[in-house]
């Protein structure tokens, strides 16, 4: 696969998670050669680590392309 060349840290969370899921499914079929299994596992661990890192480090980023957002976070506002 061509996208295996991409380092997990450079992937979007969704893409990394999707590839991880695919690897887990492939491994679970039990059809892979030992070498392939190990290579996939290694890749899976790298993806997993990257996903966990992204999750733990995630801080919401907001960009306004049009208009100017109120700086007020509106903490006091009630639920909708």
């Amino acid at each position: 696969m061509a996208d295996e060349v991409v380092a997990p840290a450079d992937m979007t969370f969704g893409a990394a998670l999707a590839e991880l899921e695919q690897i887990v499914r492939a491994l679970e079929t039990g059809q892979l050669e030992l070498e392939e299994s190990l290579a996939r596992y290694e890749r899976g661990v790298a993806l997993l680590t990257a996903c966990q890192k992204k999750l733990s480090e995630a801080r919401q980023k907001v960009t306004a392309l049009i208009g100017e957002l109120e700086s007020d976070e509106g903490e006091g506002e009630g639920a909708s």
Partner: protein, 445 residues
């Protein structure tokens, strides 16, 4: 209903009336009067009137809040609901389920017509609805940059899925020009790289406030968006055309934000599950391979390589013993054949030689006979020749008393000058020899 023999109780009579009234649903237009809207009350009380009649009305607080219409005295409204009876007081009233500002009727007709047109074009077809990305990377938001909607959305996304960047197009969402701004916001976010879903939101408001979301250009922009659009337009009883065309309709901006992204807690759990499955899958795979290797290692063939050759070795032994048995038998057979062949050859050879032998002996006999005849003839001829030769022989002359003188062991001596006194000469007589010494040499003269 059949007439009753017995008189009813008041309660029964009123219950009957209430049931009859409630079975009829109506839409009524009128002017609001005597509106009573008190904070603690569960319902809003008012009257609708026209020139000649008054109709007491009641509307439950929840429905009223959701309607977005302010019931103010003198305002012309359209209500739908049914009559009912307040039994304890024996009062008839109209229970309003929804209220819209009159004049809205026209708007609604227009909106309904547009909805039918767009539906006929297939813009609302279920098959057009796209699946949302499970884990969006950049979430676009088209809404007012101020107010409750944007904050609800940002708060919800920040809490649930801070992984995604939120890209906001803060646009005017009501009043003149709002539709055009919404279209521009959708186009801007749709063209933004990495934006994989767009929320189109606004808070609650009146039907008229909602009109930009019923605009045809907005509907078409939503349908044309390159990424899925989720609407969160907080106007519960009404569905805007934007809602109908969107890939997903959520009831509020908050609900829309919840719909576009999973909760990180959930994602973390899923990730943990993946981690467990990943480890387990590899362990199983390795154990499986290990088992296969062991099952091969345990086979007798791997324990001793003799087994590998046993069959062949046995075959070889059998072939060898066969050879041992086979070769002498073969030789015997060949020897016999040889003997037979020799006997046959001898028989055949004898037969072949016999005629030749006979021919040869016949030839020999004839040759001998011819030879003898030849010999006899030759002998006669020789005899005759010899007799003649005899006549010519010097010896025959010698017989007549002549002698021949030879130089000593040399030629016949013809001249006395050839010898000197003392020389030895030999003389041949008719019978025998004389060895002589010359005493004198003379000539005839």
């Amino acid at each position: 209903m059949a007439a009753r023999d017995q008189a009813l109780s008041v309660s029964d009579a009123m219950a009957l009336a209430k049931g009859a009234l409630e079975s009829v649903r109506l839409r009524v237009m009128g002017e609001v009067s005597e509106a009573t809207i008190k904070p603690g009350y569960k319902a809003i009380y008012f009257s609708l009137k026209d020139g000649s009649a008054v109709m007491p009305c009641l509307m439950w607080r929840d429905s009223y809040d959701a309607s977005g219409v302010a019931l103010e005295d003198g305002r012309l409204v359209e209500v739908s609901g049914n009559f009912t009876a307040y039994v304890p007081k024996g009062r008839m009233q109209f229970q309003v389920r929804s209220v819209t500002a009159a004049g809205e009727g026209m708007l609604r007709l227009e909106v309904a017509r547009l909805a039918r047109t767009l539906e006929a074009e297939g813009l609302m077809a279920g098959s057009r609805k796209r699946a949302l990305p499970g884990h969006p990377t950049r979430i676009g938001v088209v809404t007012s940059p101020r107010g409750k909607a944007i904050h609800d959305i940002l708060r919800t996304l920040g809490r649930r899925y801070p992984l995604a960047e939120v890209v906001v197009a803060g646009v005017q969402v009501e009043g003149e020009g709002a539709a055009r701004e919404i279209v521009r916001g959708l186009a801007t976010l749709g063209a933004e790289p990495g934006v994989d879903v767009i929320i189109l939101g606004r808070g609650g408001g009146s039907y008229e406030d909602l009109m930009p979301f019923n605009a045809e250009e907005v509907a078409r922009a939503v349908a044309a968006s390159p990424v899925p659009v989720v609407t969160g337009i907080g106007h519960e009883p009404d569905t805007s055309i934007a809602d109908m065309v969107a890939d997903l309709r959520a009831s509020t901006p908050t609900a829309a934000a919840e719909a576009v992204a999973p909760d990180v807690a959930e994602v973390s759990r899923a990730l943990a599950a993946q981690s467990v499955r990943l480890g387990r899958a590899l362990t199983h795979r390795v154990a499986d391979l290990e088992h296969r290797v062991r099952s091969i290692a345990d086979r007798p063939i791997m324990a001793s390589c003799d087994a590998l050759f046993a069959t062949r070795a046995q075959t070889l032994d059998m072939l060898a013993s066969g050879l041992e048995r086979g070769i002498p038998a073969l030789l015997d057979r060949r020897a016999e054949a040889l003997v037979r062949a020799r006997a046959a050859l001898l028989r055949v050879g004898a037969r072949l030689v016999e005629p030749s032998e006979a021919a040869v002996s016949r030839g020999v006999e004839r040759t001998v006979l011819v030879g003898q005849q030849l010999l006899e003839r030759n002998e006669q001829a020789v005899g005759r020749t010899a007799a003649r030769l005899d006549d010519l022989s010097p010896l025959a002359i010698l017989g007549r008393g002549y002698a021949v003188c030879y130089e000593c062991e040399g030629p016949i001596l013809r001249s006395a000058k050839s010898v000197s006194p003392g020389d030895r000469v030999d003389v041949r007589l008719a019978e025998g020899w004389l060895g002589c010494i010359v005493e004198t040499v003379g000539s005839e003269d």
